[in-house]
Amino acid sequence: MKSSKVAKRYARALLGLSTDNAQLEIWGAELERLARIVASPEIAVTFASPEVAPATKLEALAKIAEKLELSYPVRSFAAVVARHGRIEDLPAVAEAYRRMLDDLMGRARAVLTFAQTPADHELAQVLSGLEAIAHKKIIPTVNVDATLIGGVVAELEGKTYDGSLASRLAEAARRLAS
């Protein structure tokens, strides 16, 4: 909870650095790349270790940022986070930033699971339905799970909308059993 509050505070600070939405999108993408690197197990262990000096961690983070060719504001932001001993919170900061940016842009993210890779028009059809519910533009993450047989399962803003054939068959079997 505390970490989440801290992450929101940092994310809000980065969002406040610019009013240019395009710039904010770029920073969000860069922050996510940096967070993915920091969260990778081999790097995370180093940053979490108390044996590694804070200065060394700061230097390592700066090198990673340089390798990723991050923009100056994001590199500076990462340095500030590192100086405050919050490197491990970077993934949470990136997540909070993404949520805040999505809210700012009036969009939502959905995880869509299909039985097989969907055609573009199928994806667009499902997205239109979800946008009608959320009244926001939907950014999808598409997964494929053959056990669904057909249909789709959508997870949007904490709710699951199950339109898969597997769940229908399971429901039918459950009714048959009861």
């Binding site: 039985a115 097989q116 199928e122 059809q125 499902v126 239109s128 339905g129 979800l130 009608a132 519910i133 047989i149 057909g150 249909g151 789709v152 909308y161 339109g163 054939l165 597997a166 068959l169 399971a170 039918a172 079997a173 459950r174 048959l176 059993a177 009861s178």
Partner: protein, 192 residues
Amino acid sequence: MKILSRFTIATIVTVLLCPALALAAEGAEEPGTWHALVFYIINFALFVWIVKRFGGPQISAFFQNRARNIRANLGRAGDALKEAQKLARQAAELTAGLAAEKNRIGAELAEETAYQVKSLGAMGRESVARIKRDAALSVAAAREAGQRRLRESLAAAAGGLAKELVRRDFQAGDQARLLANFVGRLNEEARN
């Protein structure tokens, strides 16, 4: 001791003054005379006076003391008698009470026994009824569980079979229909 010595003196004096010894020395007893009678009277009066003079207070004290002791003994004996009578009365009451208590306990035991017998009988009947009920319920539950397991097995088999059949015959049109149905439900929810 003092009383004893005075008695001894009185006895000696009496013997000395008794003429019987002198008369016995004179041979056969002569017929009585007035002189002898007077002598005996005086002699007896003297004897009485001496006894009264020297032994009277002691004899009186002795007999008073003796009477006091006897009265005390009588009093104690009376008290003891009363106490014995009281104990005897208490014993009699206790005996009577014990008999009554025995009768009461006997009655209570009989009543309690009858009650317990009745209770045990009721409990036994209740237990039998409960066992019957439980057995009936257990049988019903077992039957229900068996039916449910059978239904579940059949449903699982049917579900698996249906899934396999659907997967085998699943077409692009089916997917389109499912998605259309799904989007329709989403739109329905959006309208609500």
